[in-house]
């Protein structure tokens, strides 16, 4: 920064917010959870259980069954039986009504699910309560309505379901990712075997309870908890017609290789390194809010996070100052505290990875800035961090950190911003901030990413298709486009 800053504001005020914790008892957790196969909770064949712990307190929350190859096989068999015997024979409107029911029960049990999500994964209760859970319910609600309307979704073409879908989901939005996978699969007439991430299985297991409550026919949804080998068993099982994976690019590539030569359909939703581009004619205070939302939301554990900031040089100093001020009001702490903005890092491993990058960035010569927020003693914590004066070739500007760390670069012209934004093997999302409409359309047209937010960021809706270009994966989830992943879409053929 050029000149020394004067006239600073003090956000560590005399008047502090008292802790306002949500009660963990609202989660109503069992001591242990079994696998959910064929409509019932069953013990794992190998008799093994693993612990799921809270990343903020390191306490064990529950024991969870570990599914081995035999359990996965049982689940696929149940899914196949349910598909042929029940689900594909149901009137589509009846399928829809099951999904409507599930949506309603989710709304009823929202608080319980939100507290569970924050306990198990570390995200602030404010986010799980106000963002995750409403989206979960709306995903089921939205897709419920498609079940008997598929003939309208692909004009002139016929559709039919694929059969059994194997789905593997990550730990950053556990219940929301389960909704993104299960709702469209079921609406389009498929049955499901799904594996939640091993560090965040609990909300998926509660979803199993809700599925029972909704009286969904047995075997339509099967939930098998476990780690990498469980996922591999699903991917390799010969009677699975389709694989949907959300997770790291590394594992996504492995799955792509494993499925080579098979007829299995595949969609991948992988990593990202999105750039938020802020032009000098942007509404700056609102851009700051979008930047903060883009990288500090969910501790930065977001595939579409705006983890790079490209700011036009003429306003860089002003913008960075506003950004630092705004960061000064972010509260890092107990995920169950309603005032927490940034919760716990999901696991010790992830925290180590992030801390590794903090060292890398400093070694590379970028200028690190962290707020002086207080951090709790126990648990996995990382304060919101900026790397200023980053350059395009720094590793912190290229590699996905998956934490609350923002790499800041400047640019001078529109073309330079677009080029830098696209100069990455990833292509999941991007942000464009300008008050000029024509420019917003011009730039968003040229960003090579599956989701471009203009004058906003991290907005999700079940009606809005989501997915990446390039190494961020392929296929879309949500909206009319998202249905395609779970259907055979067949041309009428013949003469016209």
């Amino acid at each position: 920064m050029a000149k020394k800053q004067k006239n600073n504001l003090k956000f560590d005020t005399d008047w502090q917010y008292d802790p306002a914790p949500e009660s963990p008892e609202l989660a109503k957790l069992n001591d242990s959870y079994d696998l959910f196969i064929d409509g019932k909770f069953v013990k794992p064949t190998g008799g093994k259980y693993f612990d799921t712990t809270s990343p903020s307190s390191h306490k064990t929350l529950a024991k969870v069954a570990e599914a081995d190859k035999r359990d996965v096989a049982k689940a696929v068999t149940a899914a196949r039986k349910a598909y042929e015997g029940t689900w594909s024979r149901l009137r589509p409107s009846e399928r829809g009504k099951y999904l409507f029911r599930i949506a309603r029960v989710i709304q009823e049990r929202s608080r319980e699910l939100a507290v569970t999500e924050s306990l198990d994964g570390g995200k602030p209760i404010r986010e799980s309560r106000d963002i995750d859970l409403p989206l979960v319910a709306s995903h089921f609600f939205y897709h419920a309505g498609w079940a008997d309307k598929l003939s309208y979704a692909f004009a002139g073409r016929k559709v039919s379901p694929l059969g059994v879908a194997g789905q593997i989901i990550p730990w950053n939005f556990p219940l929301l990712m389960a909704a993104w996978k299960i709702a469209p699969a079921l609406a389009t007439g498929n049955t499901v075997v799904i594996k939640p991430a091993e560090s965040t299985p609990l909300t998926s297991l509660k979803l199993a309870e809700i599925i029972q409550e909704a009286d969904l026919p047995p075997g339509v949804v099967n939930i098998v908890t476990g780690a990498g080998s469980t996922g591999e068993a699903i991917v390799r099982h010969p009677d699975v017609d389709k694989i949907a994976f959300t997770g790291s690019t590394e594992v996504g590539k492995l799955i792509r290789k494993t499925l080579a030569g098979t007829d299995k359909r595949l969609t991948l939703e992988l990593g990202g390194k999105a750039a938020n581009i802020v032009f000098e004619d942007a509404a700056l205070d609102q851009a700051v809010e979008g930047i903060v939302n883009g990288i500090f939301f969910n501790q930065g554990h977001v595939c579409c996070a705006g983890s790079r900031l490209l700011v036009q040089e003429s306003i860089a100093e002003t913008l960075v100052r506003k950004l630092k001020d705004r960061m000064g009001t972010l509260v890092v702490g107990d995920p169950l505290d309603k005032n927490t903005d940034i919760g716990a890092i999901n696991s010790k491993e992830q925290l180590k990875k992030i801390q590794g990058y903090l060292k890398v960035g400093q070694r590379e010569g970028a200028e690190i800035f962290q707020t002086s927020c207080s951090l709790p003693k126990r648990g996995n914590w990382c304060p919101p961090t900026l790397f200023l004066n980053a350059s395009q070739s720094h590793r912190i500007s290229q590699e996905e950190i998956f934490g609350p760390v923002l790499a800041v670069q400047t640019f001078r012209t529109v073309d330079e911003a677009i080029d830098k934004a696209n100069n990455t093997p990833f292509g999941l999302s991007g942000g464009v901030w300008t008050d000029k409409g024509a420019k917003a359309f011009h730039v968003s047209e040229r960003i090579k990413a599956g989701v471009v937010w203009t004058n906003t960021f991290n907005k999700f809706d079940p009606a809005s298709p989501f997915g990446g270009y390039k190494e961020s994966g392929f296929g879309r989830e949500g909206g009319r486009h998202g249905l395609e992943a779970y259907l055979n879409v067949i041309e009428a053929g013949g003469n016209r």
Partner: protein
């Protein structure tokens, strides 16, 4: 700064983005001792107001009494910041509030419309100050502003500021008539540059009065001017802040936008009338644990 430079620096505002930032303030959960602190702080920031055609000297006397004796049963309550009245009532208010720390504020400049010759408005201001008003709340000429005559608006504020002498000047933008947040920002920039000590949202006579969105835009204008020039300006939302819950949200917004220095009645006021009793009810509820009834809190 020259007026054209001020106007050129006035930034675009995205109202959807502003609404999102405001929503974050409303989800803060203020409990226990931090709630009690906030309630008392809010109480100390109130400009107890009576601005009705039917005001009488007796009405004003009773309001001043209430300002000094908020509630019989509660010891150690702060006093409100000020009493705000029409210029004809300033002498009475000054007499009643002698030596008690509560300021006397007068609305002037042909409040609320401001549709009058500048000379008359200046004379009214000087008269109120002579009678003892320590603060003057003026209104800008919204018609001129909306017609693009920003120079006029800037000049009238400069003139009234001069007429105030030692008294503090609050400039009412009447945000309900300005309609867009960009207009609110522009008017704030003009007012701050022209010498306002405080910028204020509304007269309370036009709907909508204060909203969190316009307040945020005004607080951000104050922040930007402070960081650029070191100038310190206060802020007063008026009208529509009818209960403690809303008032606390405003304090959260103030805290997270301007920080420690502005969390004082010297730099932030609530223009409200029924808010005081709701704060008192909440204070009693916080200490007793029991929900209150308005029957136990005097009207004035």
């Amino acid at each position: 700064m020259s007026l054209s430079a001020t106007l050129a620096n006035s930034p675009p505002i995205d109202s959807v983005g502003v609404a999102e930032r405001v929503a974050r303030f409303t989800t803060r959960s203020i409990k226990k001792s931090s709630k009690m602190e906030a309630l008392k702080l809010a109480l100390s920031m109130i400009d107890l107001t009576t601005l009705e055609g039917k005001d009488t000297e007796d009405r004003v006397r009773r309001l001043c009494y209430k300002a000094r004796h908020l509630h019989v049963d509660l010891p150690e309550l702060p006093t409100v910041a000020a009493v705000c009245v029409y210029p004809t009532m300033v002498k009475v208010a000054r007499e009643e509030l002698k030596d008690c720390g509560v300021q006397v504020a007068a609305v002037a400049t042909s409040f609320p419309s401001g549709q009058d010759d500048l000379s008359l408005r200046i004379r009214q201001t000087k008269g109120a100050v002579r009678d003892g008003a320590q603060e003057i709340d003026m209104v800008i000429s919204r018609g001129r502003f909306l017609a693009g005559d920003y120079q006029y608006v800037s000049d009238e504020i400069v003139a009234v500021k001069e007429a105030c002498g030692e008294a503090h000047l609050k400039v009412i933008l009447e945000t309900g008539e300005l309609q867009t947040l960009e207009n609110v920002r522009k008017a704030s920039d003009i007012a701050i540059d022209a010498g306002a000590d405080f910028i204020k949202t509304s007269t309370g006579k036009v709907q909508p009065a204060a909203t969190m969105e316009v307040t945020l835009v005004m607080l951000e204008a104050i922040r930007d001017h402070f960081q650029e020039t070191g100038k310190i300006v206060g802020m007063k939302p008026a009208g529509g802040i009818s209960n403690s819950k809303i008032a606390i949200r405003y304090l959260v917004m103030l805290r997270e936008t301007l920080g420690n220095r502005w969390l004082t009645p010297d730099l932030f006021r609530f223009g409200a009338s029924s808010l005081a009793n709701d704060l008192l009810m909440q204070i009693v509820k916080q200490s007793s644990g029991v929900y209150q009834s308005s029957n136990y809190f005097s009207l004035d």
